[in-house]
């Protein structure tokens, strides 16, 4: 007898929860779009609203950390930060399901051909700069690689380290998948050409895995964002220039990309306030630098979608 009651209670609970879920969802969906208007756009006044930022997993830790600080200071604002990848973030912001789309690449590079119109509706907010360095296993004995040498390595023309001044050892490539934003940046600014998916090359999307494999595999070469560099791998110079924040800022070291936060149309209310906070000196010199990015206000050069660099 009792058991049937318990059983029924379970059903009831499940149903109420499901019903609850529906209500809540409605409330949620209603809240998000209304977020922007409800937030006052006057600077200094308290802002309110809730929004979602999703996309690049590389940018996620930064946005999350900053959003937590921002929410602590503005308790009327609620920000959800989600991953999913640059492509997912751009699709979602273009469709309007999220308010900010985080991306490692310009929207125009992902939303091409039939989707080019979508890219036009998006407004770019460049919040940080990320630089990449070619890294090798410690045993290869190479300190510097020229552009041509890197191209030969990543297109498979050179397969032994002795041909680029290292010791007699087979080169093992650790590349990224074709869809990766990191790979796109590296190809565009370090190689100047597309690399190839060579037989036998390893492909990993995740920086941690790339670092682990490069550090463990004899003769391995890959590339990492500066924040992932540590003692286990060796960062090589590019055309004699060391990969560090100063060289990137002055424009001497070319392998870098912007981290973008896209909004659909000009941002308003809480979204706008948050993006302004993101670009404030407090965040740029604090969290951005701490997490291994280069502050956007330190950059002495700018670059457009086509890759044309100009002095600020």
């Amino acid at each position: 007898m009792k058991k049937s009651v318990v059983l029924l209670m379970t059903f009831v609970l499940a149903l109420t929860l499901a019903a609850c879920g529906k209500n809540n969802d409605g409330g949620n969906a209603g809240a998000s779009p209304s977020a922007s208007p409800s937030g006052s756009s006057d600077a200094g006044a308290s802002v309110s609203g809730s929004f979602i930022a999703s996309g690049s997993t590389a940018l996620q830790p930064l946005v999350q950390q900053v959003s937590e600080k921002y929410m602590a200071a503005n308790d009327q604002v609620s920000i959800q930060v989600q991953g999913g990848g640059s492509g997912a973030g751009l699709s979602q912001v273009a469709e309007g399901t999220v308010q900010i789309g985080n991306s490692d690449v310009f929207a125009e590079e992902k939303l091409k051909d039939a989707d080019a119109d979508k890219a036009k509706s998006l407004v770019d907010h460049q919040v940080a700069v990320v630089a990449m360095a070619a890294v090798t296993n410690k045993d290869v004995g190479v300190d510097n690689l020229t552009k041509d040498q890197l191209v030969s390595i990543f297109t498979g023309k050179v397969t032994n380290w002795k041909d680029v001044g290292g010791k007699d050892e087979k080169i093992v490539l650790v590349n990224r998948p074709a869809s990766s934003g990191t790979r796109a940046t590296f190809e565009k600014y370090a190689l100047g050409t597309k690399s190839q998916d060579l037989p036998g090359a390893i492909q990993e999307d995740a920086s941690g895995t790339v670092r682990k494999l490069v550090s463990e595999t004899p003769g391995a070469i890959g590339y990492l964002a500066l924040s992932y560099l540590n003692d286990s791998v060796k960062a090589v110079q590019y055309e004699g220039v060391e990969a560090n924040a100063d060289n990137v800022a002055s424009g001497k070291y070319p392998v870098w990309a912007y981290e973008h936060m896209y909004t659909k149309g000009e941002p308003e209310g809480a979204v706008k306030a948050f993006l302004e906070y993101m670009l404030s000196d407090e965040v740029q010199n604090g969290d951005v630098t701490d997490l291994g990015y280069i502050a956007i206000n330190k950059m002495q050069v700018t670059r457009d979608v086509e890759g044309k660099v100009s002095n600020k």
């Binding site: 058991k3 379970t10 809730s50 929410m71 959800q80 999307d205 995740a206 920086s207 941690g208």
Partner: protein, 295 residues
């Protein structure tokens, strides 16, 4: 004479294989526990993760895993019981039943990544639930449901026929016979099966990458109102589970102690699964004794 030698050799081989399997398991557990246990402390289990500093914990992730499990079970158990009861009690041996049986079979062998992608397409994007615990729970339901159906069906079928007939003979309706005669007898094995299935949910990652998301917003553990954004009980917030967290810090971890955290979290995950396994057995036995003695 020769046959006996062959027999002895093959006996040796089979015993050897059994020993090998035990050794693999022991090695696996030993490796995970030895590397991981050093990092497990109360602080590690309760504190939130750190992005770049050392000393982060897995508190929210552990909570998310458990909460997601509860959510999934709340959805799965009634549905699974219902479909299981149909399969064992109401299904007539006809084409339709054969078809449904086929569906359960296909559903249970779907790759979890396909289920995850389906969740991304339909639950996350189309229903607009976003990356959330609820999306994750629905995706997990999809591939936990067939398991639950099978467990219920088998447990009900193993109840002696006489018990059912006795119930019907007393003038109880079929449904009443099922809920008050058959189910109580079958409950120990249903519970055991359910907990073992729950272990699988606990460790699932591929489907959750696309549905529950890979981020864990700040949680305010003093706020238990499920409608608040920072409340741990809000089912519509994105949530990274323990298994997903291991995947993430292994691949993207920036903290200097990422490897140790991964090892510690893996150990916690394995220990939890161990507890589930032992708990399922123990609970099944206790329930069996209680239900059969008190009746």
């Amino acid at each position: 004479m020769k046959a006996k030698t062959v027999d002895r050799i093959m006996t040796g081989v089979i015993v050897g294989v059994a020993v090998l399997i035990i050794a693999v398991l022991a090695g696996l557990l030993g490796y995970l526990l030895v590397r991981g246990l050093r990092h497990i402390s109360l602080d590690f289990l309760l504190s939130p993760p750190q992005t770049i500093k050392a000393g982060g914990g897995i508190g929210p992730q552990l909570f998310n895993s458990l909460f997601l499990l509860v959510l999934t079970m709340i959805i799965t158990i009634p549905l699974g019981l219902g479909a299981g009861i149909y399969m064992s009690e109401y299904a007539k041996p006809n084409r339709l039943t054969a078809f449904i049986r086929l569906i359960v079979e296909v559903l249970s062998s779907f790759p979890s990544i396909v289920v995850g992608l389906f969740g991304l397409l339909v639950i996350v994007n189309m229903f607009g639930l976003g990356f959330s615990l609820f999306s994750g729970a629905l995706a997990l339901t999809v591939f936990n449901l067939p398991l639950m159906v099978r467990i219920t069906e088998q447990s009900l079928r193993s109840v002696p026929r006489e018990q059912k007939e006795a119930g019907l003979a007393l003038g109880l309706s079929r449904w009443r016979t099922i809920t008050s005669v058959l189910l109580p007898v079958a409950i120990p094995s249903i519970v055991t099966g359910t907990i073992l299935a729950a272990g699988r949910v606990f460790g699932e990652a591929a489907a959750l990458l696309f549905t529950a998301g890979m981020s864990s917003p700040r949680l305010d553990f003093s706020d238990w109102n499920p409608l608040h954004h920072t409340s741990p009980l809000n089912p519509f917030r994105p949530a990274e589970t323990l298994a997903v967290h291991i995947w993430k810090i292994n691949s993207e971890g920036l903290a200097p102690d990422a490897a140790q955290i991964a090892a510690g979290a893996s150990a916690v995950l394995v220990i939890t699964v161990l507890i589930f396994n032992l708990g399922a057995r123990w609970l099944g036995r206790v329930l069996y004794r209680k239900l059969t003695a008190s009746k």
